[in-house]
Symmetry: C2
Subunit: 235 residues, 2 copies
């Protein structure tokens, strides 16, 4: 969205503060994903607990941002375009908060898994998490820079996350079929994969918002694929 | 929240329109849950497809509500309390939209399941869905009436949904262990159960917002239970 010609510099400053809060939330969400996966791989229940607890900070920042946004609107009475920027900030913050929740879910799962036997697809999951984390990072960069191209690149990256999900899903099913002892741990990993896939989806949603804000256009219905949806997609 | 003493009746009318849109979204979301579960039980792929398509209407209503809210704020420049009501409406609409997505996910899953063999927990799922659907209905009633007690009752109902989820989760695991042929259909039903559990969570989130709006107090940390979190909870 082009910068509107409002003269009230104070509004821009307030908006910058909202953006800074979102950047902080995003950094925490990225770290949560990274730490949850590290805890999963290393069977670190205490590390997982720290991720669960750290999520409160993300929630608190969202509440803070919401209060600031309401105050900004009340004080500055921004016109339509500026108002839309504030609403966009509220929406992006809500997406980041949800991404934090998914990372927290993974951390909770680590605590549930405990000492269950390690099964192979554990090696694919961190790679999937790395891509999902990168998407979160990139979409926040795109938001800060109002960079439509970068936002679009995030949307395209989601395909890779979906491919990982499908591959992990199928692999886990075969593990379950081979040996009933694998069923419980494989089910937990399936939910971890699902949480990562949802992180990718939410980063994509945020990217679509950034794209729309920057261009006024909706990202054309992307080919997200029959392939995805034939195997356990919840997208 | 007590009605503030603003004299501009037009604001109240506009707010009522936002509420009517949310009520419409809620009705569609409830129907989507009901129809997705009917399609699941009756193996009705075409019915499931209709649920997936109908979700667009919910999404469109949310977009419409957002536009109306922005316009309302820009035109009426509401003061703090009224503004908070508008923001609350935006947030509840976003929750209802997500509930619609979960129902859509169930419907997509029906299409994936196709002709796979029926396994027993299918009989528990519709009951779980009924409770989740009731929660959605009640929370929207509570929102319309600003009824804090009713909102609290929704929060408490979530315990039953979580119990259903845990029971279904364990039952499905035993089915998978008994017979590898059950693994694929059981995995799909596990995701259906998970989607219903998430619907309960979101209805609860909305109820907490309604409670806060009505009383200014946060719902005290409810005892959502160690029991829940020891078995595959993603809450």
């Amino acid at each position: 969205m082009a910068t509107t010609g409002h003269t009230v510099k104070a509004f821009d400053q307030d908006l910058d503060e909202l953006r800074a809060t979102i950047a902080e939330m995003g950094g925490l969400a990225e770290e949560a994903i990274r730490e949850a996966m590290r805890a999963l791989v290393q069977r670190d229940s205490e590390g997982a607990l720290r991720v669960v607890e750290a999520d409160r900070r993300i929630d608190a920042l969202e509440t803070e941002l919401e209060r600031a946004a309401v105050q900004l609107i009340a004080l500055r009475a921004p016109m339509a375009d500026d108002l839309r920027e504030v609403i966009a900030a509220l929406k992006i913050a809500s997406v980041v908060e949800r991404i934090g929740d998914y990372a927290k879910n993974i951390a909770k799962r680590v605590q549930v898994i405990g000492e269950a036997p390690v099964i192979e697809p554990l090696s694919l999951l961190p790679e999937m998490a790395r891509i999902a984390g990168e998407m979160v990072h990139s979409v926040l960069d795109a938001f800060a820079a109002r960079d439509a191209e970068k936002a679009l690149a995030v949307c395209e990256r989601d395909r890779a996350v979906d491919d990982f999900y499908n591959s992990i899903f199928r692999t886990l099913l075969t593990f379950m079929m081979e040996n009933p002892h694998n069923i419980t741990p494989a089910t937990h990993l399936l939910f971890v994969a699902k949480n990562l896939e949802r992180i990718g989806d939410h980063a994509t949603n945020a990217a679509e918002m950034v794209y729309f804000a920057a261009t006024g256009l909706h990202v054309a219905d992307r080919p997200r694929g029959a392939a995805t949806e034939t195997v356990g997609s919840d997208g």
